[in-house]
Symmetry: C2
Subunit: 306 residues, 2 copies
């Protein structure tokens, strides 16, 4: 098969997994109170669903599910952990889009939550989604032992919090003034986008009760594709247009924000991406053909056009 | 002893517990990266500490620690769960104070986080604190079995999320337009402020490995004092002045927002408070003198002047 045929097959698999996780999220995030809840405010729920059920690629859920499958893990438990991670990812986008943060009007071609509803609804929708992610993993309906749940919650909170995603977002907001060097940019990106992608792959290993060594291997694979994800994103900010991306582009350059692409150029970045795909494939080598889809995921991330 | 002597003794106990939880939070939320964190952005950490280490009464932590002590539970584990709950409470105040929400400039006599720093810092500080609460409970350093941790995380997420605190805040923002009736106001308040106080008391029972019946009894005690807390708050909004409260007062009336005080008057509210204190004391009766401080807590909440 050619690379582009592989990417197309991967996209079909991605769409299948996306449909599963969206069906679960639509059910979980309906207006109907459950598990002893007093009430679910309909307008808040509508804002939450607008922030989650928006045609996202669901790359992180796929990484959770495929990583769990490597270790023969239960599909439904992995799907619920994948949905929890997508709640965290969605909350981060809803808050990042706020006027006080990146101030974006569009997300995947649709108005952002604060544009469609209002800022208060967007803040509360994000807060609710973040909280719900932990509820979902801890839930009795998620059929995992308590130790695996605690390991997942601990790893997710560390990836999403002050030493991970929110810390990285804080560094990113300061980057326009701080002008970080290469080391600073790498650290910022590892925290802002890398930590959650790394968690996705590690989470699959936890759900599958992998050994400590296997868990570390999957986390390293996650780190490699997390770096690739951000490099591809920075490339697209330079090369794509807003219609393809469904959001504003060229913003980093306009804001005078340094990226590795702006420091080292497009050609260097493409070479780095090739190297990272190779690294990801090496890490997955012990799993043989079982890891074919995860290898394709690395290539898809490095080559994506939107 | 007179009631006012009891309240004074309670306040001394409250200050002692507050000092413990603040010392722990100051240590946990320092600038120093820990547990494999890549980095802690200093400005984000400063915003977080401004939102948490601000001389709050630490009522919820006291409820966790005293409830746990009823069941002979380990002090340090209870203290860490208490600190996690205070992170959730603090995050909710930081976000509630934002311009898009209640738009408050002062909190306990100090500038709110978005006034001292900026809106983006306040959003990220709140997000980080909420995430950190779950990290803290799940942490290996919190010496509790995995089942207790999962029970705590599940109950906390339900109390803080879309069927609890954030849901209640969403209802509260709509209340100016919706004009809820008595039932609607009670539901809103049970979610917005009641759920987290209920959790505080239930959490102590979980940390102490109480029976299901004892856990339910502590949750009911928490519900009673949670209602009392909100009624006392509504009374103070009518009767106190901004200097005593360290924040703006009379805001509900100015916003045309209905409270049970505005519906039924000050005298009715005082009678309700007396009834709730009696109910709390009855629920604690089986614990005898071990529950003396929790009985005082109910009275303190009903009678507080700030």
């Amino acid at each position: 098969m050619t690379t582009s045929q592989k990417v197309t097959m991967f996209q079909i698999a991605l769409q299948q997994r996306a449909a599963s996780v969206e069906a679960l999220l639509a059910d979980l995030l309906s207006d109907m109170p459950r598990n002893g809840e007093i009430s679910r405010p309909p307008r808040l729920m509508a804002a939450i669903r607008h922030g989650v059920l928006n045609g996202g690629k669901r790359l992180r859920p796929l990484l959770v599910m495929e990583s769990a499958a490597l270790f023969g893990a239960d599909n439904l438990a992995a799907l619920r952990v994948a949905a929890a991670l997508e709640c965290v990812h969605s909350y981060s986008l809803v808050h990042d889009d706020l006027p006080a943060m990146d101030d974006d009007d569009l997300r995947r071609g649709q108005p952002t939550v604060h544009r469609k509803f209002d800022e208060a609804a967007a803040i509360l929708a994000g807060d609710s989604l973040l909280t719900y992610a932990f509820e979902l993993i801890a839930s009795e309906e998620t059929e995992l032992d308590a130790q695996a749940k605690v390991a997942l919650i601990s790893a997710l909170a560390r990836a999403a919090g002050l030493g991970g995603m929110t810390g990285g977002q804080a560094l990113d907001l300061q980057a326009e003034n701080d002008n970080p060097d290469e080391e600073g940019i790498i650290r910022l990106q590892a925290m802002k986008t890398g930590a959650l992608i790394r968690f996705a792959c590690e989470a699959g290993a936890i759900v599958g009760h992998a050994t400590a060594g296997e868990r570390e291997r999957m986390a390293e694979y996650g780190s490699a594709i997390g770096i690739a994800y951000q490099l591809a994103d920075d490339l697209l900010d330079v090369t794509a247009n807003a219609t393809e991306m469904g959001k504003a582009t060229g913003k980093d350059a306009a804001a005078g924000k340094a990226t590795l692409v702006s420091l080292y150029g497009v050609e260097w970045t493409r070479q780095q991406l090739t190297g990272l795909v190779g690294q990801a494939e090496e890490l997955l080598a012990p799993f043989g053909s079982d890891a074919a889809l995860l290898k394709d995921a690395a290539r898809f991330i490095a080559e994506r056009q939107s």
